[in-house]
Each structure stands twice: as C-alpha cells, then as structure tokens.
C-alpha cells in the first residue's frame, strides 16, 4: 500500500525533514509512526497525502508513483485516502451531517446514496443522534469522531491519522483507538502518527520510530 525507497525530503529552508527512508506497509496492515516532535512524522504523512513531494527517492502509495503524480490527478488520488487530523479540521458553519457528507459531495456521489452512507459512518462512531448539531457544540472527543466519520465515509482503502488523540484524555483516546482497530479489522490499511505511548502499548501493532528524519526503529509486522 505504501512503499518508500531512499526517500529524502529537504524543505526550501534547507532543513532535512526526512533522510533515506525505506518503508513498506502492506495493504491491510496497521502501523504507528512515532518519534519526538520534529522527527518527521508529519512530513511523512504530508508526502503520503501528496501535500509535499519527495526531494529524492521513490514514493508509491496505493499503486501511484508520488514523484510523478501530475497536479491535476492529486484530488483523485486523495479520494482514496481518509485523513484524520489532530485539530479535526471540521467546517464550523455546517452541521455534523454536512461535514461528514462533504467527501461524498466532492466526489459527486449519487444523491440518494448520500444520507445512507453518512448515517452509516455516523453510526460507526456513535454520533447518529448528533447529526443536526454544529461541531462547536460537541466535546473534543465527539469532534474527533466526526472527523473520523468524515475520513471513512468514502470507504477509502487507506486511513491516515495525525495525532488523533493529541487533545483527548486516556478514556476518550481508548475509544478512538478502538474505532481504528475496528476499521483495521475490516481490512482498511491504518497508519497513525502519534507520540502517545499508552496508545501504542495498548494496540500492540507495528511501530515505526523516526529520529531526526531517519528511520530509527521498525518493529515489523505484529499481530
């Protein structure tokens, strides 16, 4: 699903965010990316979502070569990846329902199909009763679950999460982790960037540790 070969990323400022990363994550796998702040976790995710291009090396995600991906193909590429953000990135002026429906509207999903899929996604995260509310009226954990519902409503084969539990207490974190485990169980490839060790310990899945832009540890596939 994800294959990095000798990937380097240097920002225009001259900062080397990633150095010689070799990484292979199979379809259906679940892995955690960890490391100190500035180790390159976010940069790795930015490369996978085609926000940035590698400076050197080959990167392929979901069968597409990211180094050669034309600009106009990027939107279609991103539709196959669900992304969960630490700050949720929800639209404050739209209801929970509209937020979750957005990826379906963007991809031009059949009108009759949308309500069914939105409600299925909201049911998965346990927020079916809050579909008419605005995100600001929800708690942090609930907002994150709306973000997760939006990320999976399109049924993407790959789910990325950037510090999904960064602002949550341990009980809410566990609930969020259970959701990811559930998606993984259903065959979705899940990649979570986090420095929440509790989360990693509890999940007992593959751990990839970055240190100053280099691959410091790869536990290999577990479970």
């Amino acid at each position: 699903m994800i294959e990095f070969t000798h990937v380097f990323k240097r920002y225009p400022s001259g900062f080397d965010a990633l150095r010689d990363i070799n990484l292979r994550i199979e379809a259906g796998e679940m892995a955690f990316i960890t490391g100190h702040s500035g180790a390159g976790k976010s940069t790795l995710l930015r490369l996978i979502t085609a926000i940035e291009k590698p400076t050197r090396g080959e990167a392929a995600v979901n069968g597409r070569n990211l180094t050669k991906l034309p600009r106009r193909h990027i939107p279609y590429f991103r539709r196959e990846i669900g992304v969960v953000f630490q700050d949720h990135k929800l639209l404050c002026d739209r209801t929970v329902y509209d937020n979750v429906a957005l990826p379906l509207i963007v991809t031009g999903t059949d009108q009759q199909e949308i309500p069914r899929r939105v409600r299925a996604a909201l049911e998965m995260v346990g927020l079916l009763d809050k579909e008419r509310m605005l995100p600001v009226t929800l708690s942090g954990g609930e907002q994150q679950r709306v973000g997760i519902a939006r990320a999976v409503v399109n049924k993407p084969p790959l789910l990325l999460a950037d510090e999904p539990t960064g602002n949550l207490d341990s009980k809410l974190s566990d609930e969020i982790l259970d959701l990811f485990l559930d998606f993984h169980h259903h065959g979705v490839t899940v990649l979570i960037a986090t420095h929440d060790l509790h989360l990693i310990d509890r999940a007992r899945r593959r751990v990839i540790e970055l240190n100053h832009g280099e691959l410091a540890l790869d536990s290999g596939t577990r479970a």
Partner: protein
C-alpha cells in the same frame, strides 16, 4: 449521470444564494456599486437612442428647397416641376409662388408693413422637393441635392436639414465615446467583482484547504465562487436597469413638456427587449469572468499545510 450533474449545479446555485443572503449588506453594496457602474453606460446608450429617434423623426421631413431664378415664367416652372416630380428619388413637389411666399413671410416675420413699402417682391419662386421614403438617408439626400443643382433654372438648392447630418456625425462620435466608456467601466466591474470574490476566497481559506485535502478538484472549489460572481453581476445589471428606468421616469415629464412646446409628440423610450437582455447578460458575464480571474489566481496560493 447528467441528471446528477444538473442537480449538483442547482444545489451549488441555491447554496450560493443562501450565502449571499446571509450577508445582505455586503451583497447589497457590491450589487449597488456594479449597478451604478453599469447604469452609466446603459443610461448614455438610452439617451443616444432617444436623440437618434428624435433625429430620425426630423429626417423623415427632410426636404430640399429650390430657389428659382426670378425671371422664370409660370410655364417654365410648371415644366421644371413636372420633370423633377418624375425623378425616382422624389415623392412630390410643392410650388410656392412669389406672391404666396411674400404673403407667408409677411404673416410669419412681423415685417409686414416694411415689406409693403417695397415697390417689388424681392422673394424668388420656390419649389419644395419632398424625397421619396426610400431616399431619406443623408447620403441619398446629398446625391438628390447634387442632381437638382444641375438644373439651370435653379438659383440655389438647399437641403433644409443639413444640420441633421452634423447631428448624426456627432451622434456617431458620442456612440464611440460611450463604447470606450463602456469598455473602461466593464474593466471596473471586473475589478469590483474580482476584489469581492478575492475576499470571499480568503475568508474561506480553511474550508478550501479542507476540501482540497479530501480530494475536491479546483473546478469543484471554484464553482460556488463563480456562481456568486455571476449572481452579483446579474443583480447589478438588474439594478442598473432599474436605475435607468427611474432616471427616465423622472425625466419623462420635463421632456414631454419641452417637446410639446415644440409641437412634438416625442416621448422618451426605455431600452428595448434586446438591449435589456444584453445589459443583463453582460452583467452576469462580467461577474463570472471577474470571479474566474480572482479565484484562479488565489486558488493556486491556497494549499493544505
């Protein structure tokens, strides 16, 4: 599939209307500025059309006065008149005898007594030539005038409405002026819409970023802004139309009074159906284009971080 496409566009359209009505003051201000900007050339256009209409009325009465030589006999004049009447460009010919001309002059000029003291009638006999309906354009009148001057019996041939031609020339000039002004103001409308949309794009920066992250194409992101620009342009054009109509309503009373003083039944006309359509179409098109230019430029700059 096609039904879905139209449905999506309709949804974006109504969503745009909703967005615009949520900020009524900002929308109204933009629409008002566009309205006033478009009302200027539209108003001038209507004014020119009316002047031209008025001039056309005079031109229909275009006639050529032939002042004949003093010593012609009535038979000579009769023969000349007959010849001229046969010209294809001529509808009919009136004869004003020396006596009739004198009587008319006495009556109209108020110099009746002074003229009475003259021992002979100083006025020449006159043939008034009315051109055929097919020959009322200035060029046709000019060539008829040239033909009439060739007759030896004619002392002086004068096109009474020489000044109509000058008016026409001035109107042509004014039209060009309106055209240039229109082009300039069209650019102004583009800039107004462009700036409004630019602010809208920047205001919704976060939203655009999110839509880009979940796979929204540029066309998808652009669409509501294009609708917003086109709708505001359209509303601006409608406002311009109303402003012109209001101006004409205010002017129609005084114009009617002035016209009646000249014994004319002239009434001001508003712009016709096609001109209205053109105005509204132009408004919508300028709105769309201004929005397209602004969104195109700013969308590139907004990339997910």
């Amino acid at each position: 599939m096609i039904k879905n496409y139209f449905l999506r566009h309709a949804q974006v359209f109504f969503y745009t209307l909703g967005q615009l009505s949520r900020t009524p003051l900002a929308t109204f201000l933009t629409v008002a500025v566009i309205g006033i900007t478009l009302a200027l050339p539209a108003g001038l256009y209507v004014a020119l059309e009316n002047v031209q209409q008025l001039a056309r009325g005079w031109e229909d009465n275009g006639q050529i006065s032939l002042f004949l030589k003093q010593d012609l006999s009535d038979a000579d004049i009769e023969k000349l008149s007959g010849n001229i009447r046969k010209l294809p460009a001529v509808s009919w010919v009136d004869f004003v005898s020396r006596q009739a001309a004198l009587a008319e002059f006495k009556k109209l000029s108020g110099f009746g007594d002074a003229l009475g003291s003259l021992d002979r009638n100083p006025l020449p006999p006159v043939l008034v030539v009315h051109p055929a309906a097919s020959h009322t354009r200035p060029e046709a009148l000019q060539s008829l005038l040239k033909d009439l001057r060739r007759y030896s019996e004619v002392e002086l041939a004068q096109l009474d409405l020489e000044w109509v031609r000058r008016l026409y020339a001035m109107l042509d000039l004014a039209k060009q002026g309106v055209l240039i002004l229109t082009a300039g103001l069209a650019v102004a409308v583009l800039l107004i819409i462009g700036n409004t949309i630019r602010l809208a794009v920047l205001n919704r920066r976060d939203e655009i970023e999110i839509i880009k992250l979940i796979g929204g194409t540029n066309a998808f992101i652009r669409r509501p802004f294009l609708y917003s620009g086109a709708v505001q342009g359209l509303l601006g054009a409608v406002m311009a139309w109303l402003l012109v109509g209001l101006g004409l309503l205010i002017l129609s009373g005084p114009v009617h009074r002035l016209a009646s003083l000249y014994g004319s039944l002239f009434v001001v006309e508003n712009m016709g159906f096609l001109a209205t359509l053109a105005l509204i179409g132009t408004g919508g098109l300028l709105g769309w284009l201004g929005s397209r230019l602004a969104v195109g430029r700013h969308l590139q700059a907004i990339e997910p971080r």
